[in-house]
Symmetry: D2
Subunit: 139 residues, 4 copies
């Protein structure tokens, strides 16, 4: 996996056959798994551990996802998820994510994921988390 | 499962424990599975069989999904997916889907799914499929 | 869903299209999901809540699974999972599970699942759990 | 990924958070996904493409799986699946697979997977496939 500078992140993947459905292409829902894993990998590189945060009562949750499917992934395709982050207001961050086929960077899907943070179940912006987001967002 | 009149459809579900992730709530991607299953159940009631269509070279594919997550589903929750359909232009249909907790109808998620039809890989509006959509959309 | 007497349990399912893989049949791994859900439904009917137990530091875990695949499930198939339980030694229980197609009871798969109980990570036989298993096992 | 000599194969993985369930560990069924992906990667290195075979009417199917779960995988764990193959009779092959944690090779799970080959739905031993298996099995 290639890691870019802090304000962008890339994770490479390869389609696994069990991710394909009876149409022979990767099932729609699986793209959300790819996007989530790419986000968690990114968080990990900057010291935010999703599972450890949960154990501390801090949960990052997607509150809205928009995704455009442009070209279907198939068995054995290699692809990259490119992510960039933006703060939105006091309590939300927006992560723009693109999936591109490898090696030719053909656009596969494009998504906008709005993430909020719950602390013991309530919307919150804990400094330990949002200071990292601000750094990633270049603020 | 209750079936409404043709222009709306409801499918009831119950959360299965394996659908929950380490945060103890249903994983984001799984909601797309629920929505897909509700759509396919609906198609089934009006004589469109997703797998049989694929075998004939006709693939219904989601080209865009927007979903707002409002309240997390947890282990053993029962919920309903309510769906309504609208034709959009010549080649697309839009399905509005809501997930509500049972028995109190608390809003869980709201989605807009844009579906296109590929015939041997190319955008198409085969009469056998779109005449059914038009009927469901009340046109 | 039909509930039998305590020493046996049945849960009915219907194949969901996203559970099928590119061979057009339900993927191997998904059968373990069906079996797990059937077990948890059973536990639920006798007052054992898998998620609540986890919250109390008690985890039921599969330590061994044997499964024979006899006939592939396909899109829209309806089937039943029949389960029966047996105590094995002090710390283990064995659950025999059969999957049969509906309506004709054609054998689909047969499994033996060995379950142990971890309390704060260590093998254990908490009375609140094992007394229920013994009751289900007819002891 | 490291590829060993032909009679053994290794694939490296990393746990993805969505693969963990509400117990905070990788769900049982997901291990079958890992094992399948490792097998398909191996087939791929010797020129057998699972999806292409299906398109030719040749389906490799698991007929029996035995798996012992020894140590639970958790968020961010890295692990390797080691596989070895054996011919069994005229129509079956047996693949022994071990999952070990990295970097210390702690045993995570051990599995025996019996695979058969269906040609247009009937048990078969097509030369193009079984000659490869025999080569991998060192015969």
């Amino acid at each position: 996996m290639a890691e870019g500078p802090n304000d962008r992140h890339e994770t490479e993947f390869e389609v696994r056959d069990y991710e394909c459905d009876l149409q022979g292409v990767v099932n729609n829902a699986v793209y959300l798994h790819y996007l989530e894993h790419a986000r968690h990998r990114w968080l990990d590189t900057v010291g935010l551990d999703f599972a450890a945060l949960h154990a501390q009562g801090i949960d990052l949750v997607a509150v809205r996802i928009e995704i455009d499917y442009k070209y279907p992934l198939r068995s054995r395709d290699r692809f990259v998820v490119r992510s960039a982050i933006k703060r939105e207001g006091r309590l939300k961050i927006v992560i723009h994510q693109e999936i591109q086929l490898l090696p030719d960077s053909r656009p596969v899907a494009q998504a906008k994921v709005v993430v909020a943070c719950l602390q013991n179940g309530r919307p919150s912006a804990p400094v330990q988390v949002f200071s990292v987001f601000d750094r990633l967002a270049g603020r």
